[in-house]
């Protein structure tokens, strides 16, 4: 029988993810890929894969899989109670054929990653096996009965987190602090609430955006019209958009590549991994990150 993972249960949302489709924004294609890239990379290194191999991104646990063949597996990210193997989190687990692994709900964090030695060999679309939940590119969202073929590409022997010098993603206990660098339309808004307030992650957050609740961000006098008439601008994952209700949205990996709401700030890449672990109800604060010297204007005067 071909080497496969059989999905028995998927929990609230489980998808195949790798490091996505960077560089295709000009065609309207979002980056997609793992929301917590450090956790996927670690899972892959633990099983001896290239860091960019495809694994499973699990949201709030609930995944159950059966292995049709003996395989080496690693789980990282939000720590779930694991049954089916005596080994633990952030470790390479040797599993005999027929093993059924069940991940319960994590006590802390939101997204967990499961990598299998050899990677998931679902067909690549535009160079990536990631599921883009907005555009539908890549494999379907996982559900019971689906079978995922295992690949054979490896980069080295399985390792331990100790060998790799990587303890696994630090999940924030209590209030998370995320760095925020200046965005293109920061000057349009009254200063204050964004750096000062505590922001709560809303339940309607997903891979397209993490929606925050807090005091409304207000436009400074004279900028209302600018915001209302702003034509579509390019976006990146981590951009903090402010829709008319003043409640910010941090764009996620599956967000559209252009958007019509002003961007006040942008999270550094590394902080996206922390954001990816904040579940609805979690509280975060922004601390300012440097963007380098700012020049208000350059080129010819206009």
């Amino acid at each position: 029988m071909a080497a496969m993972i059989e999905v028995l249960a998927s929990g609230p949302l489980a998808t195949v993810q790798d490091l996505g489709r960077p560089g295709l924004a000009e065609l309207g294609v979002s980056r997609s890929g793992a929301a917590d890239r450090a956790a996927l990379r670690l899972a892959n290194r633990l099983v001896g894969n290239d860091e960019s191999a495809a694994g499973i991104e699990i949201t709030l646990g609930g995944l159950a899989i059966r292995l049709t063949t003996a395989a080496t597996v690693a789980c990282t990210g939000a720590r779930c109670p694991l049954s089916g193997h005596p080994g633990g989190w952030n470790a390479a687990l040797s599993c005999p054929a027929g093993t059924v692994l069940v991940l319960g709900p994590p006590a802390v964090g939101l997204r967990s990653y499961l990598a299998v030695r050899g990677g998931l060999a679902v067909p690549a679309v535009l160079g990536s096996r990631a599921t883009d939940t907005l555009s539908g590119l890549g494999p379907a969202v996982l559900g019971p009965g689906q079978r995922l073929p295992l690949g054979s590409a490896t980069a080295g022997p399985p390792g331990t987190a100790g060998d790799l010098g990587h303890p696994g993603t630090e999940l924030p206990a209590g209030i998370a602090r995320l760095r925020l660098a200046t965005g293109p339309r920061a000057e349009w808004f009254e200063p204050g609430p964004l750096p000062e307030a505590a922001w709560q992650v809303r339940p309607d957050s997903d891979r397209i955006g993490t929606r925050l609740a807090g005091p409304a961000l207000r436009l400074r006098p004279g900028f209302e019209q600018c915001a209302a008439e702003l034509p579509s601008e390019p976006t990146l994952p981590g951009a903090v958009q402010v829709p008319p209700d003043g409640q910010p949205i941090v764009l996620g990996p599956d967000a559209p590549v252009t958007g019509g709401y002003p961007v006040v700030g942008v999270l550094p890449e590394a902080d996206l991994d922390v954001l990816a672990q904040l579940r609805p109800g979690a509280v975060l604060r922004f601390v300012s990150a440097p963007t380098g010297p700012r020049s208000a204007a350059s080129g010819r005067p206009r």
Binding site: P22, G23, A25, E26, L27, G28, V29, V125, L126, S135, G136, L137, A181, T182, G183, P184, R185, A186, P231, S232, E233, P234, T235, L236, G238, A239, P256, V257, T258, V263, G265, V266, L267, P268, E269, A289, P290, T291, G292, P293, R294, S295, A296, A297, S298, G299, R300, P301, R302
Partner: protein, 209 residues
């Protein structure tokens, strides 16, 4: 190039804001043609172009200087040799909003069709969905705001207008643009290389089917 501003966009990108929408494609072309090993992506939109870099390979100040230099020496127009082959699309003018667009513009339906199908369009940028091109060049008389509340389902191939742009929905999706017609052209096909029929800079001509 009549002028530009460089706006901060976090630690790995800069947003170039152009003085005129007509400068967006020339600016994008100049940045792409010049090229830089640390530049990961150049993404145009309606008035702005995002330049994304590997921040470990290039300092922000150097990026800004490089962009300014590229734009100072850029040609305002697009050299004919750099212009991709035009894409021709046959359009059936049977859209659900055709009558109301004509009424709101004070034109006959035939005149809306004539103006929409004779304009010279260029893909200014892509967004919204893979393969969705924002075509500039729409007749000023046909500029209307999008629907206040988007339709839950716009069929694939719908030819539509909103603001200064016209475009074609690559697949069925929710959408708020005003529907003038439809085309059988396949806008995004993963078995084609490149998959997107419309890319920034592509000239587009429409013909009534």
């Amino acid at each position: 190039m009549t002028g530009w501003r460089l706006l901060p966009y976090g630690q790995s990108a800069v947003l170039v804001e152009l003085a005129s929408p007509a400068d967006v494609l020339p600016a994008r072309n100049a940045l792409v043609a010049q090229g830089h090993p640390a530049v990961l992506a150049v993404v145009p939109a309606a008035r702005t172009v995002l330049v994304q870099i590997d921040p470990d390979a290039l300092a922000m100040a150097e990026l800004r200087a490089w962009i300014d230099e590229c734009l100072r020496t850029a040609d305002a127009g697009v050299a004919a040799a750099d212009r991709p082959e035009p894409v021709e699309l046959a359009v059936r003018y049977d859209g659900a909003d055709l009558d109301s667009v004509a009424r709101r513009c004070g034109l006959s339906v035939a005149e809306v069709v004539r103006r929409h199908s004779t304009a010279e369009y260029t893909v200014q940028f892509c967004g919204f969905a893979p393969g969705f091109g924002y075509l500039s060049g729409l007749d000023p008389l046909l500029r209307l705001p999008r629907l206040a509340s988007p339709r839950p389902l716009v069929p694939a191939g719908s030819v539509a207008i909103a603001g200064e742009f016209t475009g074609v929905y690559p697949r069925s999706s929710p959408g708020g643009w005003l529907l003038l017609g439809s085309t059988d052209a396949v806008l995004f096909d993963l078995d084609r290389d490149p998959p997107a029929l419309l890319r920034p800079g592509t000239p587009v001509r429409l013909h009534p089917a």
